[in-house]
């Protein structure tokens, strides 16, 4: 379904494309790929989980974390996501390959933020 959205490899550039399911003009300019779609689905999932969590335990469990800031669950998600972006960028800039190691570091970072910040 998503594979028809854009030229997936260099070999397909310039060749006539089969029209895919989502391949109408209103949509194709956004140049979706399954990787970026997965990323946004992950973000949407995070927000959904937060929503369910808030329904189960209302109030956002505010506390004063190790940084001395008053944070709620939402703040912690924001710090985790923004921090993960910087961890990935730092890894790309300083090391370059094996980006998945940065992703593993980010998972650990997520846990630390949600526990202590």
């Amino acid at each position: 379904m998503f594979s028809k959205l854009s030229a997936a490899t260099w070999g397909e550039v310039g060749k006539a494309k089969e029209k895919g399911f989502f391949d109408f003009d209103l949509f194709s300019w956004m140049a979706w790929t399954w990787q970026t779609a997965a990323f946004f689905i992950f973000i949407a999932l995070c927000i959904t989980v937060m929503l369910i969590w808030e329904k189960k335990v209302p109030g956002g469990s505010p506390r004063k974390g190790v940084l001395g800031l008053d944070t709620t669950r939402g703040d912690r998600l924001f710090v985790s996501l923004l921090g993960s972006a910087f961890i990935h960028l730092a890894w790309l800039g300083l090391i370059g390959s094996f980006l998945w190691i940065a992703s593993i570091i980010c998972v650990a970072y997520f846990i630390v933020v949600f526990k202590y910040v």
Binding site: T9, W10, A31, W32, T33, T36, F40, V79, A85, F86
Partner: protein, 288 residues
């Protein structure tokens, strides 16, 4: 009393939701999509992975633009904040002077950004502009279209002229909200002018000043129109701040992939600084 539960109000949120989707969420998603691909237009894209991010992070050009941007923002904050407080302190507190000062102060803020750029461009032209011609007449070798130092001087002067008023108005509002009792107490204690400023006025202005610094930081960090009209990023690349460099890359060179990666990195920096300022402001709030 029984409250009727009516969730129909949620429908009123739909227009805002659609607006935000079209002017923020969808473009941002597209930028993310572009940053991982190469394109030559015509809606044909090829997957490139993290290549553009690596390229931007290691590029001398990006480092230089970021350096210029930070330097510019730092310099204008260093000038505008003390200058703004100073002007606010000297402004009259009552009488006919108040509206006169307030209107004079808000005038630069009302002028459209590209007009400010055009005005200063003509004003600073070395042959016919009042500023440029006068400086040359006084014996300074001034030409903002050719000398990087002069271009920086003019850009900073323009920004100070355009935006110091904002700091003045915010500081003035902060000063006016201080209760007279504080000043009376200071007078009874025989406090000097400096002590009054340091221990009464400055702490009371903390909130508005944080706001002023945040606003000035954001505006100057994303500055585009004024330097674009004034210098066009030149001479060479010496005043090409982040936004100007970004537009050059995206529209001038049509390097949409690298430009998207650069704008995401730019966005993350802005987001980080906003978060820091937001927390500082919330801390102030909690203290007072």
């Amino acid at each position: 009393m029984n409250k009727t539960i009516n969730q129909k109000a949620w429908f009123f949120v739909i227009p805002v939701f659609v607006l935000v989707a079209f002017n923020a969420a969808i473009p941002l998603m597209t930028v993310v999509n572009y940053s991982f691909q190469e394109t030559f237009g015509n809606n044909v894209f090829a997957w490139e992975g993290t290549r553009w991010f690596k390229q931007i992070l290691l590029s001398e050009r990006f480092h230089a633009a970021l350096g210029r941007q930070i330097a510019f923002t730092f310099i204008i904050l260093l000038i505008q904040i003390p200058l703004g407080i100073g002007i606010a302190l000297t402004m009259p507190k009552k009488g006919w002077g108040v509206p006169v000062c307030l209107i004079l102060m808000s005038m630069p803020l009302l002028i459209p950004w590209n007009v400010v750029g055009a005005m200063w461009n003509i004003f600073a032209l070395p042959d016919i502009g009042f500023l440029g011609h006068s400086l040359n007449g006084l014996g300074f070798d001034y030409n903002f279209t050719q000398q990087p130092g002069d271009a920086w001087f003019t850009t900073i002067l323009m920004d100070v002229w355009h935006w110091t008023s904002l700091v003045v108005l915010l500081s003035y509002a902060g000063l006016n909200s201080i209760q007279p009792a504080y000043y009376q107490a200071a007078e009874i204690d025989g406090a000097s002018r400096w002590a009054t400023f340091r221990y009464i006025e400055l702490p009371k202005m903390k909130k508005v000043l944080t706001l002023a610094i945040l606003l000035r930081f954001m505006d100057s960090f994303m500055i585009y129109t004024e330097p674009f009209v004034l210098t066009g990023g030149g001479p060479g690349n010496t005043t090409a701040f982040l936004s100007i460099d970004l537009v050059k890359m995206a529209l001038g060179q049509f390097d949409l992939g690298p430009a998207a990666a650069m704008s995401l990195i730019y966005f993350f920096i802005v987001l980080l600084v906003c978060w820091v300022f937001y927390n500082l402001m919330m801390k102030n709030e909690a203290q007072s």
